[in-house]
Symmetry: D2
C-alpha cells in the first residue's frame, strides 16, 4: 500500500499514523520528496481499511498494491476452480447453461420448461420462488410452494436446481436446493453471505447494480472466508446514465474477472436488458467474450404468462440459441455443449 | 399509465395485452395515430409491473402518470409528517441533528461524546454497533455489546439512540433502540423492510448507493405497507463516475423529495464524502437546501481512534458547526436549534 | 407527446401552455382525471423542446411518443443504409474492419501496418493525425504531416483512409480523406457537425462518453439535416462508476441502435477498455452482438512504440482475430470477410 | 508516479519500460517484493501519459503522486487568484452573482432584465446568443444579433457581459464581450481552448457533463498553458443514473476544487436541475458550501416567454434570493453582496 502524505503535514500526525500502522504488524518504507512524502506499507495490508486511510487529514491519496481479497485471488490460486453439480460444470474448459422461467408458476409449467431446456442442452434449471420486487404491492413469488415445485422438477429431470434466497431466515427451505443464488440487491447483505459461507453447496453470486469488480470479489471473499469456496460469479448488468435498457451489461468485466480470480464467471443476458429480443445477441456476445456459462430465462408461453414474458424467450428460440452458442465456444477454448 | 404500441404490431398480441389489463380491473382508452397506437390505462396502476410492460415485444415505451407509491405520496397526504422521539423532531418546522461516533468503542467513549454533542444541541445519539464492511477481514463492530453501551449512553443523557440493523435475525437486540437505521446496502433488503414495518418505532431509511428517488420511496412504502409510518429518509450520497469523493451527495434530491413525499428527509454529510473537512461545508449546504435535519459523525479523539477518524469531526468543531447551521435555518422556514 | 399536468394547477397557466402549443401548429387532446390532467400533443413534436416543457411549473412529467430524430429514424426509412467507400462497406449484410495505428508516426510505419492489415482482410486504414489529449503537455499528433502520410498509405494500398477531425478550421486538410471521424469529445460540437453535413463524404460518428442513444442519434441528425446522409455510428464505451476499465463498452446498444436507425453501427474495442488484451474478446463479442464492423488499433511494434502500445494489437494477432471473427459472422446474417 | 509491475513479467519488457522512462529525463526507484515489483518515477511526470502506462501488458496498476496540472495547481500558487472585470470579482473574499436570461430575445428584454438584476446586486449580465441545442430543429439563438443586443445592455448598465462561444470561427464576434463562456459540451474542445488561451479576457469554464475534477482542471490548464490565466470554473451538474433532475449538482466538488486550485469556482443552479423552483434552494446550498459566486437565469416574464421559462426565476424572486444569500456569506468568509 502506497500513501502520499500532504506537504507541510504536522510531524506529530505523521508519527501517530506510522506508529498505528506498525501496531498492525506492518512495515514502512518512508521516502521524502520535494512536494510530498510517500509511505510504502509492506505486509498483509488486507487488514487496513483503505477508506479510513484515504480520509485522514494528512493523507493526500492512497493506493493498494496487493488486492484485499485472498481466497478469491488468482495470484494465490492460479488454477481455474471448476464448480460442478451433476452435469452442470462451470469453469476451465466447461461452459454450462442454466435455463428456466422467471417465476415458478405451476407444476405443469416448471416441469414442461425443465424438460424442454434439458432437451436443448441446459444442465441446470432456474426458477424464481422468492422474488425481489421494487413494489410491496407486486407479486412476491410462490415462496415455499415454489421451492417445492422446483424439487419436483428436479425429480423429473435429474437436473440441479438454482433459485434465489432473500433472507437468512429462509435458509432451511433451501436445504435441498443445489445452487443458491444471491441476487444483485443482496450482494452486500453481509450477514447473509456469512451464513452461506457455512453451508456446503455452490453459491451463484450476482454482481450488484452499482458494485465495482473489487467489491464483487470482496463479497465472494465473505463467503469463502467462512469455508465455502464453491462460488459462481454472475454479471447481470450495471446501472449507468443510459436508461434505454434497464441496465448496461458490462461484458468487459468477464475477461478482467478471469484474470483476477480463479472462480468461474457467467452472464445473465435476460436481466441485463430486460428485453427478450436482446437475449440472443447478448448471449452470443457473452460467449465470445469468454464467459463460463449463461443463465437464461425461458418460458413456454411468454404471451399468455404476461407477468413473466418480457425477458423470456421461448423453448424453440432457446434451442436455436444453444446451437449458435455452440459454434462460438471453440474460439474461446471451451468444450461444445450440443 | 400511457403505453405506446409499436406500429405494425399484431392485432392478436394487442388484444391479449388489453384483455390482461382489463382483468386487473383497469380501464383502457385507445387512440390510434399514424405511427403508433397509444393506450391510456386508468385506475390503480400500482398493481402493474412497469418493467414487465416495457419489455413486451409490442410495446414501444411506457410511462406512469401516477406514482407507484401511495402511503409515502404527498398527493394523498399533503400535510408534513413529523417524526418525534423525545426532543428529536424531524419534519415541518423542526430540524434535528443526530450526532455520535462512527463505531461504539467503549462506555467512556460513547458517554463522553453523547454528553458533549447534547451540550451543543444534538437531540439524538448515533453510534455503530453492527458495522457493514466491504471486507470480511475488517472490524465488524462490537455488535450486541455495542447495543448495550448505547443504552447506557441513553440512560446518562436521556437522548434517543439511533443505530443500524443488518439482519432480521438481530431484531430482538433492537428492542430498546429508539430509531432503527437501515443502511444504504440494505435499502432493498425487502424481507428486512417488511419486518421493520411490523414494529412500532421510527426507521431511518438511507438511500441506496445507486437507487433512484422512486426506488427509495418504494422502499419506504414497503415499511409503510406493513403499518409502520414513522420513517425518516436520509440522503447520503450516490455512486457516480467521479471518484475523488467516495460518493456524490445529491442535494437536489432534498427539495424534490419534499415535493413528492410528506415524510421528513435528512442528510448525512459524513458518509457522503468520507472526508471530515467536508462535513462543515456540506452541512451548511444541506441546511440551505431545506433538509429536515442532519446525522453527523463526531469523535472525541479522531487522531487516536484512527479507525474512526476520517469522516468524524471533533466536539468543538461540532459546536461551531451547530451555531453556523442555526444562522441558516430561518431562511428555510425552520425553527432555531441553539 | 404526452404531458401530465399537476393537480390544482392554475387554469390561466394551463391556458397559456395550450395556446402556445397550438401556435406551433400542433393539436391537443385533453383528458382530465381525478389526480391529474393529461395533454396529448399530436403533430410534428420534433419542434418542441422537451426539457423546456418538462420544467414548466405546471407540468408534472412529459413523454415523447415519436422520436425527435427523423432522417436517422428507421421508422421512416425501414431499409438498411449501406455506406461504401471502395471495398469498405458498412451495413446490411456487410461487415468491414478498419485497422491501423493509434497515431501516424512515420511513412515507413503507416505503410507497413496498412499493407499488413490489408493482407488480413481490413478494408480501410485508420491512423490519428490530430490527437485529442487530456493534457496540453502531451503529444498532439503529427497533424498536417500525419494527414500527408495517410494519403501516401492510401496510394500504396488503395484502401480508404479514416482519421479524426478536431476543428472546423482544419476542414481543408481533410479534402482528400475518405471517411472523417468525429471523436467522442466532439459528438456534441454542433458547429462542427453542421459543417460536416455540408461535405460529401462518410462521417464516422463516435458516441460521446456520457451521451445517451437518443443524443447520439440527434447528433447524426445534425449532420443529415444539412444534407450528408452517409454516417457510420461507432460505439466506443461509456463512462460509468466502474474504473477498472477506462470505459464500459455498451454492447446492448448495438441491437437497439439497429432497431432505431437504418444507419450502420460499428464498435471500437480498442478505446473501450484501453487494454490490448481485451481487444480480441471484445471484438468477438461485438461481432456476436450484431455490429456492422469494427475499428481496431494495430501496431507493428507495440513494445517499442510505447506511446501507442497499450490498446494496440500486433499484425499477427490481428490476422488471427480476423479469422475468428469470420466464424461468427454467419450467425448474425453477415457475409464472411476472409 | 508509482507503477506496480506484474509478477512474472518478462525482464526484457521491464527493461524496455525503464529505459523509455529514463529517456524522458525521469529517475526511477525500483523495489522488488514477493508478489510485485514497484517502480517509483521521480521528476516532471506531467509528460507521462498515464493511460498509456496503465495499459502496458506488464503494468498491474499505476498512480500519480503529483497532479498533471501545474499552472492551475494550488500547490505551486497557494494564493487565491481573483478574477475581476469591473465590479464583478470572483475569488478570495469576493462573491459575485452573474444573472440574466437564458437567451437574448430583444433589446427591450435584455435591457429590462439587466437593469433589474443590477438593482438587486448582480455584478455581471449573462444571456445566450449562440445556443447549444441537442436538436438541429430547435432554435439556435439570435447569434451575431444576440451579441449586438448584449453590448447595448452593457452600454446601458455598465455591467460586464458573459456569453457562450461555440466555435473558434466565431471568435471575432466576441471581441467586445467581457467574459467568454465555454459550455459543458465544449469543455474538451481542445482546439477552442487553445485559442482562448491566446486572448486576454476572463474565461468562464463550465464542467463537462461527465468529466472528472482532474479533467476539468486539465482543460483549465490548456487555456493557461497558452498564457491566459484568468479563468473562472463553473460547476453545473454531472450526469448520473438519477434522471429525476436533468443533472446532479456536485456540490462536494466546490470545497475540493478550492483545495486543488487557486482559481475561483462558481455554481450554476439553473442548469443543474433545469427546474426554476430548485434555483433558490440550490443557490443557498452553493453559497453555504463555499462557492465564489453564482450564475443564475432570470427572466422578466417566464410564463409568456415559454422557450425560456423553465429554469428561470423572476426579478422579484431574484431580489429575495440575493438577500438570503447575503445572510449566509459571512459563514464562509465572504464579503456581503447587498
Amino acid at each position: 500500500m502506497i500513501l502520499v502524505i500532504k506537504k507541510n503535514s504536522e510531524k506529530r500526525q505523521l508519527d501517530n499514523l506510522i506508529s498505528w500502522i506498525k501496531k498492525l504488524g506492518l512495515k514502512i518504507n518512508l521516502s521524502t520528496g520535494e512536494n510530498s512524502t510517500v509511505l510504502g506499507i509492506v505486509g498483509d495490508t488486507s487488514l487496513v481499511d483503505i477508506d479510513l486511510i484515504r480520509s485522514l487529514d494528512i493523507v493526500e491519496s492512497v493506493k493498494r498494491i496487493s488486492e484485499p481479497y485472498k481466497k478469491a485471488n488468482r495470484k494465490f490460486h492460479p488454477e481455474n476452480t471448476i464448480v460442478s453439480v451433476g452435469d452442470a460444470k462451470f469453469g476451465g474448459p466447461h461452459f454450462s447453461v442454466i435455463a428456466g422461467p422467471c417465476s415458478v408458476e405451476s407444476e405443469e409449467q416448471i416441469i414442461s420448461i425443465a424438460k424442454s431446456v434439458k432437451a436443448s442442452g441446459a444442465t441446470a434449471i432456474r426458477g424464481g420462488a422468492f422474488k425481489p420486487r421494487t413494489s410491496p404491492y407486486a407479486f412476491q413469488g410462490l415462496r415455499a410452494d415454489g421451492i417445492r415445485l422446483l424439487l419436483i422438477a428436479r425429480e423429473e429431470t435429474k437436473l440441479p436446481i438454482v433459485t434465489e434466497i432473500m433472507s437468512v431466515t429462509h435458509l432451511d427451505l433451501f436445504r435441498d436446493i443445489d445452487i443458491v443464488q444471491v441476487g444483485a440487491r443482496n450482494m452486500q447483505n453481509f450477514e447473509l453471505l456469512k451464513e452461506l459461507g457455512r453451508i456446503n453447496k455452490p453459491i451463484l453470486l450476482k454482481r450488484g447494480l452499482a458494485n465495482t469488480i473489487e467489491e464483487w470479489l470482496m463479497s465472494a471473499e465473505y463467503i469463502m472466508a467462512e469455508g465455502n469456496e464453491q462460488i459462481i460469479l454472475c454479471e447481470r448488468g450495471i446501472r449507468t446514465f443510459e436508461h434505454y435498457t434497464r441496465n448496461t451489461l458490462d461484458l468487459s468485466a468477464i475477461p478482467l474477472m478471469k484474470e483476477l480470480t480463479h472462480l468461474p464467471v457467467i452472464v445473465d443476458p435476460s436481466h441485463a436488458s430486460g428485453l427478450s429480443r436482446l437475449v440472443e445477441p447478448l448471449s452470443l456476445a457473452a460467449t465470445g467474450v469468454g464467459s463460463d456459462g449463461l443463465i437464461i430465462e425461458v418460458h413456454n408461453n411468454p404471451e399468455k404468462a404476461l407477468c413473466d414474458g418480457p425477458q423470456c424467450i421461448r423453448p424453440t428460440q432457446f434451442d436455436t440459441l444453444m446451437k449458435r452458442i455452440n459454434v462460438i465456444l471453440p474460439l474461446t477454448g471451451k468444450n461444445n455443449i450440443v
